[in-house]
Symmetry: C3
Subunit: 348 residues, 3 copies
């Protein structure tokens, strides 16, 4: 009966964890994957409650966190704040209700940890989702786990890295090359998975190439600046390849092709973004066999799923031998179990 050094810690982004903490999570996740339902892991959260708090619905995140709690012997509650009367300001109008202070404090009485998901579509401005999440973290007396906000997605980043290592003979990916490329599609996707990948892989010494068609699909400057700093510190490289959908593939060991919305998304809205990102102008921004051939032999296709098949990537690649998307999806479960165990269990 003991607690890890991470006991009680919030997990907002891997950027705010030490490399040692990141490695501890990944090492435990690997052990848990090898011994999925067995002791001692299956009683680490016995009889305990983890609250999943979904400002935005999500299937994958819910399924993996709920299974994680079950496999640790506990239970995850699926809660939607829309069922609550929360004090808030919506488009300038104050809505009466409970403060985040009180909501966080009470939930911490019932649960040993709280996951929060809050994306761009739940807030008015970029970063507000992360701010709200940090407000819960400020007041809750139990760990807050970021289940994806409008900036970060630590569990996805860790699952990516775990999968990339599994397909690198279980070795670290330092010195390998990751292409993180924008893709067309009709889903106006969030930044958070992409941001986390840039930040975490640059941190771990991976050479990162970020590709997108034009400045409107550039990512927020502070994220890019941080990734550059990370690369410098870790001995990796960070490069931006603009305008050419294929150029970045050369020398890639991992290709991460995924849509994200443009800078003007908060003004133009979802419909206009989807129309643009599906237009002919971007028809070549898809990961296909042809482009993959310019990557290194054995290069892998990665993606946080759900995949928008035949938009972000062809069926051939997505379902082919290069694709490790299912392993990465499964790894969400394992890294989340590891995070929950390290931050919430007193039986480690």
């Amino acid at each position: 009966m003991a607690k890890s050094k991470m006991f009680g810690k919030d997990v907002v982004t891997t950027q705010e964890l030490s490399v040692e903490e990141i490695e501890n999570i990944l090492a435990l996740a690997v052990k848990m994957k090898a011994n999925r339902y067995g002791e001692p892991y299956n009683s680490l959260l016995a009889f305990k409650t983890f609250i999943m708090f979904f400002y935005n619905p999500s299937l994958r995140t819910r399924q993996s966190f709920e299974a994680a709690a079950t496999e640790l012997g506990g239970h995850a509650q699926f809660i939607e704040p829309k069922a609550m009367r929360l004090k808030s300001v919506k488009k300038g109008v104050e809505v009466a209700g409970e403060t985040i202070h009180d909501a966080a404090k009470v939930m911490a009485r019932f649960a040993v940890g709280i996951g929060i998901r809050i994306l761009e579509t739940s807030v008015d401005n970029y970063g507000d989702g992360n701010k709200i999440l940090r407000e819960y973290a400020k007041y809750a007396d139990v760990p807050i786990i970021n289940m994806a906000d409008d900036i970060y997605h630590p569990c996805q980043g860790l699952a990516d890295v775990m999968g990339m290592r599994e397909h690198n003979n279980n070795k670290p990916t330092k010195g390998k090359t990751l292409v993180q490329t924008w893709a067309k599609g009709a889903l106006a996707r969030s930044y958070c998975s992409v941001h986390e990948s840039l930040l975490l892989n640059s941190r771990l010494g991976v050479n990162v190439k970020l590709a997108y068609p034009d400045d409107n699909y550039a990512l927020p400057e502070n994220i890019v600046e941080q990734a550059k700093k990370n690369a410098k510190a870790s001995g990796g490289t960070f490069e931006i390849v603009k305008g050419d959908p294929k150029a970045a593939y050369e020398g890639a060991d991992y290709v991460y092709s995924r849509n994200w919305f443009g800078k003007d998304f908060y003004e133009i809205g979802k419909e206009a973004e989807i129309k643009r990102a599906s237009s002919d102008k971007y028809k070549d921004w898809i990961c296909d066999e042809d482009k993959m051939k310019t990557a290194n032999p054995g290069a892998k296709f990665i993606h946080p799923m759900p995949v928008d098949e035949d938009a972000e990537v062809t069926r051939e690649v997505n379902r082919g031998p290069r694709s490790i998307v299912l392993d990465i999806a499964e790894n969400r479960l394992h890294v989340q179990k590891a995070i929950m165990a390290l931050t919430m269990s007193d039986k480690l």
Copy 2:
């Protein structure tokens, strides 16, 4: 620690199980009912996740599957695909999203089995629900359990038979007579429970009389043809009684009176169907004491519930000593536990 011969098997309809498999499920369900919360059953799915995937909501099905998972030591997740971005075609328009291939493959990473419910109101044409369910079964690497589709409902059929036997001194019902009769009502009910009853009882040597008022309420030809073949093979009889709400009751040991929608439902829609089935024309299509008197002494009233009291059956019969509907409702739990144990547990 062992697996049954059914381990890994999908359960789409009892028609696709062998009689031996059917008997194995029923035998295990009887044992589980006698030892509801006890060992060894309460750890067969310990720490494991069963996903309940509801295209259509359902209370009874959810309650019984969720309790089943709990009683086997595991946990059932309640998931509604409407929270997902699934690739689909709705009224001719393509909706961007995840393929069933990917959704099935990922869920199989999190869960040891997946239940799917998809009724006529979720699809455009008769049989499309079953097709979608079979597509999940094709790709998922864990068993798919049919929690009711637009054609079949195996768990209901098995619960019916289990109840019929319990009220037949725990003996098989071969040679007994079942009246499966259409009833009036305002709920435009699905075919699946009725189909499964016809198919399964005819398979087990029960003499089946199918009664309905007119050709519009005839059931799909392939189901009726299959039931006739089943009867022939099992030594039972299969008879259709048309136009008379009482005639079929003569000689009945079990009366199953329930509404179902007409052939033209997919064109005319729910409202028109309800209006018609509630009209005076059909006022005598209700199971009542008077009709039950023409059945055999000791004849039982059965129904998959929820009962539309005073439409499908009078309160007197539904709540009277002839009614075994509650036992059958409870049996849903037990047969589902047995199916889950046989197809998903490695501890049998």
Copy 3:
């Protein structure tokens, strides 16, 4: 393996429990709080299902009951009757569906207990929610626990008392003084928590002062009459202080400041009620430091949460040392565990 004397008992209001039963619940809750996840409590409902049946959504109630079931080794199902086809009459029109008789009888086959929440906004007239809850209690063969109806809220009342005692050196509150005061606010709040507090505290010998601005905010006569009778029997006092937002505070040991809707709510509706209760006329009906200074030294602020901060109570008081609202919120969990164990477990 034994059952308590309360095994099988419905819990509709503390008014219908004996003082001995109330004390047994509170005593067990105290023990459970001191040994939250430990034996023998963590297996009292092992593998068993508790159904939470929410006509009205609620976060706190759901979280605390769901955690309670988990901590007792069982599982709570979150069910919303709106997903059911229940027979009902809405504004004079009959809706086809299942009877409460059948729904209650079937749920009792799946679960060892059923919690029901049904507030004023789900029914047409005051008291109809309680009537419906009692109809479930009539037919269900397992205990019905009131998770708040339009009259009563037993779990909240018990959690209040448990918290009041904790902050009275763990001693009974007989002879102490409770001010139950109406407060302004924009949430048109239910009666049930307030009723239960009046009934239960008067029963336990607490001197109760009920304060409100005018006759429109008087509480139903039968509740007030019952509280007066309770006070007489227990040796306490019961007093009404009308029109002055501060006068009642003198001599108070506990101040319970909370909004409730006016007598004409069922006619005027929520919007008009909120407009009135937020108007300048009632601006002084808030619990603040200034008023608290006229209470006894060490007086505590109590509230069932969620708190409408800066309407019902100032942030200073709500988050200050006088506030015991979080302890009371946590106690919901413990008293509910105790109630569930006493009424549903066969292992006590």
